[in-house]
């Protein structure tokens, strides 16, 4: 008892009191569910009481096998891959271009463009999804626009399983490019202007400023953006749910939607849904580690 009292100092009490609320809430709704999800993915649980239910058995990796044999898993994974490609090779380069053009005042009214280009990011994904669904639908402006060039053009974007993903990819590019622009812009502004000035006075061309000063200074941010893009593209759900619900014939599904359908539509299959989410977590971690390794190998110079 005496020992405990000397250990139980004001410092320790304060620490506990300060840390406890955050830790409790966070562990209850994030850390525990993650572990729970892993466990559940290896059982045969299918509704009813979870805790203390004698019928729940350990089934190992059965649901993972089933997932890998499901064609919708591969369709969804492919769509996630396409979204990732648009994010990495569309959003990030375009975002950089806009940031560079605005920062170096290559274009007038920079702050107007900056405000406008970021605007889509603040609108609810549900509104954006419904808006663009209407925009691309047979009664929307897109059809009108195409018919101006090609009279009688029929809009089959919503029915053709091969084309249906294209509007989705476009909207993803539309919506999040501004986010990368803002990130790059904030970091371009951190570069000491006198550095650029000195380089220009010493006769460096603008191209050299770009490649010798700006790119190296931004390399860390580019890596962060890549990680953000990878994690973000695996997360995509709301937008597609609002725009296409994964249709036609689940051809625009993504992993998150595939999991949602498995868990909450028709007859729920919770273990399979948890296998899918575990796969998503693993994939996300793996890709992020890969980016880090690439950075360590080739990034080199910046601190």
């Amino acid at each position: 008892m005496k020992r405990f009292l000397t250990w139980w100092t004001e410092e320790r009490r304060a620490y506990l009191l300060l840390v406890l609320p955050g830790v409790l809430v966070y562990w209850a709704v994030m850390a525990f569910p993650t572990v729970f999800s892993l466990g559940l993915s290896m059982t045969n649980y299918n509704g009813g009481v979870i805790f203390g239910n004698p019928n729940i058995q350990f089934v190992g990796l059965k649901h993972y096998m089933r997932m890998f044999n499901d064609q919708y898993f591969w369709i969804s994974l492919k769509n996630n891959g396409l979204i990732m490609a648009v994010s990495l090779f569309g959003q990030i380069p375009l975002g950089f271009l806009f940031a560079y053009v605005i920062h170096r005042k290559l274009i007038k009214f920079g702050s107007f463009f900056q405000t406008t280009l970021y605007l889509p990011c603040v609108i609810s994904t549900i509104v954006v999804g419904r808006l663009w669904q209407a925009f691309f639908s047979p009664y929307g402006p897109f059809t009108k626009f195409m018919q101006r060039f090609q009279p009688g053009w029929e809009n089959e974007l919503a029915y053709d399983p091969k084309l249906a993903i294209i509007p989705v990819l476009f909207v993803i590019l539309w919506m999040y490019t501004g986010q990368y622009m803002i990130i790059f812009l904030a970091n371009l502004q951190k570069i000491d202007p006198s550095l650029i000035e000195a380089a220009r006075i010493d006769g460096a061309s603008e191209w050299q400023v770009l490649t010798r000063i700006m790119f190296p200074a931004l390399s860390g941010v580019i890596v962060t953006s890549a990680i953000l893009a990878i994690a973000g593209s695996l997360k995509s759900f709301d937008l597609i749910y609002a725009m296409t619900s994964g249709n036609p014939a689940r051809r625009t599904s993504v992993l998150a939607l595939y999991m949602y359908d498995t868990a909450f539509k028709h007859s729920p299959n919770y273990p399979l849904a948890n296998s899918i989410s575990m796969f998503m977590v693993l994939l996300s971690f793996t890709l992020i580690v890969l980016v880090r390794i690439t950075e360590a190998r080739f990034g080199g110079r910046e601190e």
Partner: protein, 286 residues
């Protein structure tokens, strides 16, 4: 810090064609950003009959009748109140809990810190999808399904990782001597937190508020799976229900979408600077 770049780009720096191409890209993207929003607003000012005759042009007889009808049918007052409640309550709690824990992690020595702090940092990478099904099952098992509390707790938990990260970094930058001299004067840690640290932490609290408000206000999935009653729905869920694939009255649908869009756009235009800073500060993730 913010001296303007004096050496401007010279005309000769880039090939004229390249310049034109860059101009065009920016312009096209800007038009593509604004036109759909413009189309949404003008379409909401048409009756459904007019919309079907004239889908892209300006309204001939603009009407605002769609707005009151959509407001009533989609129960926008309930949706707004719920969204407001979840956003404000979760933001305040996230800020408070993050500052408290961040202060302990940054300024009170403890062997538990690396483990606890680390567990939050991992959380930055976790996404709602990976915990969606367990959260639903847990909510049902604890009778928190379809309750305000059942939605609020996960919102707070999900806001914690980035909150802890930003607050710990911020409070670390406060000199130790500030805390030490207050200790010497006999102040308890809780008193130091309330009297010194919390008032100093306004910048990080603003960043956190911006990130959390825009996240929770637009959040759809969690409410969608944890709530089934109309009385607890938030804006995104209600809007999707009202103007989802089955909506047949276009005028009202566009009005509902516009009502859903306007608050965040206004919020953005007012807090443009803070949002921009918040986004780039929040991007330290990963």
């Amino acid at each position: 810090m913010k001296t303007a770049v004096k050496t401007k780009i010279r005309k000769t720096d880039f090939h004229p064609l390249l310049r034109i191409f860059v101009y065009l890209t920016v312009l096209v993207f800007t038009v593509l950003t604004l036109y759909p929003l413009f189309w949404l607003v003008i379409s909401s000012l048409k009756t459904t009959t007019e919309f079907q005759r004239n889908m892209t042009g300006l309204p001939v007889n603009p009407t605002i009748n769609n707005y009151p009808t959509a407001w009533r049918l989609a129960q926008f007052d309930t949706l707004f109140l719920n969204s407001l409640f979840f956003t404000v309550a979760s933001t305040l709690l996230v800020i408070l809990f993050s500052l408290m824990a961040g202060f302990a992690f940054a300024k009170i020595r403890s062997k538990a810190t690396p483990f606890l702090h680390g567990s939050f940092v991992i959380g930055i990478l976790l996404t709602l999808q990976s915990i969606m099904v367990p959260l639903f099952l847990m909510a049902v098992a604890t009778n928190l399904y379809n309750t305000r509390l059942g939605v609020l707790i996960p919102y707070v938990g999900m806001g914690m990782p980035i909150g802890i990260y930003l607050c710990t970094e911020f409070i670390k930058s406060v000199p130790d001597s500030v805390v030490e001299s207050a200790r010497i004067d006999g102040a308890s840690y809780l008193r130091i937190f309330a009297m010194i640290v919390a008032p100093m932490a306004k910048p990080v609290a603003v960043t956190l508020a911006i990130l959390n408000v825009s996240g929770v206000w637009n959040e759809f999935m969690l409410v969608n799976i944890l709530v089934s009653s109309d009385a607890l729905r938030t804006l995104p869920v209600g809007i999707l229900k009202f103007s989802g694939p089955l909506a047949s009255d276009y005028g009202r649908m566009f009005a509902a979408l516009t009502i859903g869009m306007v608050p965040m756009v206004v919020f953005y235009l007012i807090f443009r600077k803070q949002i921009t800073q918040g986004v780039s500060a929040g991007a330290v993730k990963g």
